[in-house]
Subunit: 248 residues, 2 copies
Amino acid sequence: MDNPIFTHRSIRKYKGEAIPSEVLRRVLEAGTRASNTGNMQVYSIIVTTDPALKEELSPAHFNQPMVRQAPALLTFCADIHRFSLWCEQRGARPEYDNFLWYVNAAIDAMLAAQNVMLEAEANGLGICVLGTTTYMADKITETLKLPRGVIPVTSIVMGYPDEAPPLTDRLPLEAVVHADTYHDYTPERIDALWAEREASEETKNLLAINDLTNLARIFTEKRYPGRDNIAFSKAYFETLKRQGFWND
Amino acid sequence: MDNPIFTHRSIRKYKGEAIPSEVLRRVLEAGTRASNTGNMQVYSIIVTTDPALKEELSPAHFNQPMVRQAPALLTFCADIHRFSLWCEQRGARPEYDNFLWYVNAAIDAMLAAQNVMLEAEANGLGICVLGTTTYMADKITETLKLPRGVIPVTSIVMGYPDEAPPLTDRLPLEAVVHADTYHDYTPERIDALWAEREASEETKNLLAINDLTNLARIFTEKRYPGRDNIAFSKAYFETLKRQGFWND
């Protein structure tokens, strides 16, 4: 078996086949083996397989077809609620309703998520991360009936792949790794790091389709424009406060 | 080779031996293969091996001895700076200086971190996550010379293990997994989920050492008391604003 770390591809087309319960269980167990804050496991994983619920969640994920098509949608949540309930039940006073614990709990959720994704792939499943989770977290919170103390951080779809896409390119390793301290980038280095991607056939096609002069503008004008970033920032921060991760 | 997902232990004692550069490179490459937001790779990994710098960072990590002892300290940062530089250099207008992109970039950083940890373990290395990273992020930011647009999210120490601790217990899988929607916990269920841990020898020893009546109080009164949570929340949020991840 190849190491799934080095063969990961995002899968956007799935077969109808359900995930056998013993496979799903092993994949979820993998999530729980990840490092987590103080072994408090301040996260929850909501595994949605009910077609009506996936349908209801679909608009929150911008109607990406894979949300309906994949047999399972997993929502990874920061969760201080369960641990706080236990504390209260033992006469201890939990004070995790603050920003630090949003970050701690989100870290726990993400480390578990990556283990789940890798073990899924090791078992022949495909996955795709849905970056849309933070955009409409309020709608997801409502549909998944998340109580105060729980907020979605990311979601993945999971199922048996019905496509075999190539490996995605990455920036050279030197782009993201710094020795000892941060070494800022000169304009020449920025050019060099993006050179291969900018010269690729994929980029040429994207520019033709979008009628834009360079790849950076596809990101700033089409994919992640400023007005959306600001609107989604406000909305997610409101959800974070409403769900009890803020303490003025 | 066992699947490192299921054999992970946090290592707190390390041999002096350095990590061979080809091993370190493979481990870091593993990080870059993780899913990331729009393939923008909005994270950086600072690999600190210089003993003087590790010494300087040690107080920010509460002087945990492994920070000095392990040959490498890796700081995973949310980084919108590099991508924004590239956009500006192409005449595109980056608008990632907001909370949404803190969350997106932190997610990228954490998914990469988990891949790095697993690939390290697959190569005979040990790791331990340092939850202290968010506590004194301002000090770390200064020492690592992080520019605006870059903030630490988590750190790990890495090196060859000089101990072989047992696997850590986890709550039953049912504690963290919910079918379809969130199912809130009854008091009876909370009792059942924590029963095994509360009855363990480890818990009995902890209670004796701390002179406390139950395990929950060790968390709320000793490990993560409210006053610390609130102070660290404020400090990290200030760092987040200062580093350019906030837009009122």
